[in-house]
């Protein structure tokens, strides 16, 4: 396993825990509580920020540790990692499309959506982007190991 794959596994673990924690908060309190309950709103913002910080801290710590052990990225890694933004962008676009379709269908009669949803769309887009930075890395390495580069 390359250093970049190890880092991607750590990132994926953080992303999954973060996603589950955010989903649990909204399931327990209800999505509309973000509008009505100030405490819930600050908890959600704090959890969101904590997830971003945990991910960035993981990148710094693993980068620092791996650099001490030797080369952490070479020309092959760079070629493989060039595919990752495709997975990230695809996942984010699918997420935004799902939000648009679902909100349009559910709130079509009302002609407007509750103010909480733009925040949730933002949270989900960032979370999906970060999770797929890791998942995309693992997929790209897996694909390379299966098919090679010629």
């Amino acid at each position: 396993m390359t250093p970049q794959q190890k880092r991607a596994w750590y990132g994926l673990a953080i992303g999954i825990i973060w996603t589950l924690a955010m989903v649990a908060l909204f399931v327990i309190k209800g999505a509309t509580a973000l509008d009505e309950d100030t405490g819930m709103r600050f908890t959600a913002y704090a959890m969101f920020a904590a997830g971003v910080l945990a991910y960035v801290a993981m990148l710094y710590v693993t980068g620092w540790r791996m650099r001490r052990e030797g080369v952490i990225m070479d020309e092959r890694d760079r070629l493989i990692l060039r595919k990752v933004p495709v997975y990230q962008m695809g996942a984010v676009l699918v997420t935004l499309a799902a939000w648009s379709i679902i909100l349009t269908e559910v709130y079509h009669e009302e002609g407007q959506v509750p103010v909480v949803f733009p925040t949730l769309m933002f949270f989900s887009a960032i979370i999906v982007n970060i999770v797929f930075a890791s998942a995309g890395t693992l997929i790209a390495y897996w694909s390379d190991e299966q098919h090679g580069q010629g």
Binding site: M1, D74, E75, R76, D77
Partner: protein, 71 residues
């Protein structure tokens, strides 16, 4: 010109150089061990720079390490 393949003798050369490990070669040429594994399995074709660095590590020419084989 038909599609070709770049073969290499890295594994053979490692053994001829005192059973040099993949990690030792990776450190010498500045890449990861996984790239050496991919090269030996012909799953990766290196850049010209890396090809020269590998040849230099073994003290041979690039042609002694890499061969172009037409399919």
């Amino acid at each position: 010109m038909g599609k070709g393949e770049v073969a290499n003798r890295i594994r053979r050369l490692r053994f001829d150089h005192g059973e040099m490990t993949q990690q030792d070669l990776a450190i010498k040429v500045g890449c990861t061990r996984q790239t050496i594994i991919a090269l030996e399995q012909s799953k990766y074709v290196p850049s010209v720079t890396l090809a020269f660095q590998i040849a230099k590590a073994f003290g041979v020419t690039v042609e002694d390490v890499f061969q172009y084989e037409e399919k």
